[in-house]
Amino acid sequence: MKTTYREAIRQAIREAILKDDRVFLMGEDVGHYGGCYAVSKGLLEEFGPERIRDTPLSESGFTGAGIGAALGGMRPIVEIMSVNFSLLALDQIVNNAATLLHMSGGAFNVPLVIRMATGGGRQVAAQHSRSLEGWYAHIPGLRILAPATLEDARGMLGPALADPDPVLIFEHVLLYNMEGELAEDAGPVPIDGAAIRREGSDVSLITYGGSLQKAMDAAIRLEEDGVSVEVIDLRVLRPLDDRTILESVARTRRAVIIDEGWRSGSLSAEISARIMEGAFYELDAPVARVCGAEVPTPYARHLEEAALPQVADIVAAVGALLSGGTEGGGN
């Protein structure tokens, strides 16, 4: 059936609420407004205000309330409107959700799912365009998911809710309108590893979320030039699926990491380090990265486009690798 990423998530939420009395959705504008990105449109009418719970603008308050409700036996889905606003809930996410199980010596686990929009590309300037999922991927105790396909948008929520520990799901803002075919019986998908979205033998593009489609487009362009490109969709940003990454790089002997996040102290840096640690002698070229420019994302279209990884940047990075140069450095 034809559907959208937005609709796939909505169906996943519906199914979770129908299946389990403990599940409810809570966040800013999830009810009467229908969700900032219209993900939860119609759910208030279907499930009522107890289970589709509008909250005040209190990111720390309602995220912490989600943690408390999880401790109290519920299975909350907390929606934070965007990763930018999640900074107001960092205390709860990092100091409590990620920490309580270990700090309590296993006494209390936190079965909480937090969903949030991430990424740039909509000309909404710096405070609405950040890609900070890499920050969260730094924190032990969290599982970080980044659905980039309709299957994952539909299938990741169920297993995330079944996880006894906190799971953060990052939905790239440009994906909500993505249309495509999804099987009628699409169901849960594993949330423990990466997926190879395209096989190839000359170079591995390693990416996730909103950059996956750009990597796929770059692969098609490169193929026209006779370059065989493998594309890895990380899907799970923590814990990273080292095995899939290293095996792929061992086959292709070249890697380019594409991430909207800034390169300094980043997820892309981490992946690069792991490749160095685990596949250094398999490499024919240094690992390359295509990342967000190290500026707060600007409003003007041409500047924003320049600030975010684009297909042409990926193609150029691969070209440089194959010709012996590198696109690395800078910033």
């Binding site: 308050g61 912490g64 309330a65 109290g72 205390d91 686990n109």
Partner: protein, 310 residues
């Protein structure tokens, strides 16, 4: 109260012997608050406390040996030695910590209350925090959420007049904390936190009202810590005279005088209680001393749950 007092005096001693390390925040002087309020709760009522929570933990029924072993960093501790003094946790008694981020426990208490409500259970969540937390955004977010959703939370502000070393008068524009709570439309009372009976009575009244559907209530317990903020505090911010004045209101002798006046306890009886308490503290120390260290190979246990689907 005597158990909490003697237990903590022992903690201070053990700290100087370096048996207990890290931060140690003593409750000495404030015992009437924890004792009176926790005793007014039902056994299944969840408790969320602060890093100065030994009192609440002991009164709630976390075994003293497990509390002491936790401070010793032993795996027999109530958090397997991963939390220490500031992070006591105990699932069996629904004791949810031990939060060392000022204000960080309030949203969790709101969530526990939300869960109870959604599950149709009648528990009241008791949430402890100090006057310092009242300046935090999380305090106001939580007050608003609890009142907005009419949740069964009892907010227990332990106003000991200092946020670490900053006096309430130089950190709050309005120092009448109970008054500020009323701005959220919830019943709020200021209570003499040096009087265990007053604390118990006020808490009982509030809990009864909350359990009857009255929504969140707020109690400001006016109290004082006799000891420094932590073991590192040189106490430059308050005078000896001030501390001495408050010590004259020590809740323990005060309660003893009440009991004595009512013919319920005399010096001999008190000596008996002291003896009993001393035995409990000694047992707790012995339990901790006999504790074992968790093998380092288990360092990464409990980052994620071991039973998926739990």
């Amino acid at each position: 109260m005597l158990l909490v007092r003697r237990f903590e005096e022992k903690c201070a001693e053990l700290y100087t012997q370096e048996k207990i390390r890290g931060f140690l925040h003593l409750y000495i002087g404030e015992e009437a608050v924890g004792v009176g309020s926790v005793r007014a709760l039902a056994p299944g009522d969840p408790i969320v406390a602060t890093y100065r929570e030994h009192g609440q933990a002991l009164v709630r029924g976390v075994p003293p040996g497990e509390v002491m072993a936790e401070m010793y960093g032993m795996q027999e501790g109530c958090a397997r030695g991963r939390g220490g003094s500031m992070h006591l946790f105990h699932a069996a008694t629904r004791f949810y910590g031990g939060n060392a981020i000022v204000g960080g426990g309030l949203p969790i208490a709101v969530g526990l209350a939300l869960a109870a409500r959604m599950k149709g259970e009648d528990q009241v969540t008791a949430c402890y925090f100090g006057d310092g937390a009242v300046a935090e955004g999380e305090f106001h977010e939580s007050m608003n959420l609890a009142a907005l959703w009419n949740l069964p939370v009892l907010f227990c502000c332990e106003n000991n007049l200092y946020a670490m070393g900053t006096a309430i008068a130089i950190s709050h524009a309005e120092t009448d904390i109970a008054l500020r709570a009323t701005a959220y439309g919830m019943p709020a009372w200021a209570v003499d936190g040096m009087d265990v009976l007053a604390v118990e009575e006020a808490t009982r009244k509030a809990v009864e009202s909350i359990r009857g559907g009255g929504g969140p209530h707020f109690l400001e317990f006016r109290t004082y810590r006799f000891r420094p903020h932590s073991m590192f505090d040189p106490e430059l911010y308050r005078s000896r005279e001030e501390v001495q004045q408050w010590k004259e209101r020590d809740p323990i002798p005060r309660f003893f005088e009440r009991l004595k006046g009512a013919g319920m306890l005399d010096e001999k009886g008190l000596a008996g209680v002291e003896k009993e308490v001393a035995a409990t503290v000694a047992e707790a120390v012995a339990f901790a001393e006999a504790g074992t260290l968790e093998p380092v190979s288990e360092l990464t246990r409990f980052v994620h749950s071991e039973e998926v689907g739990a």
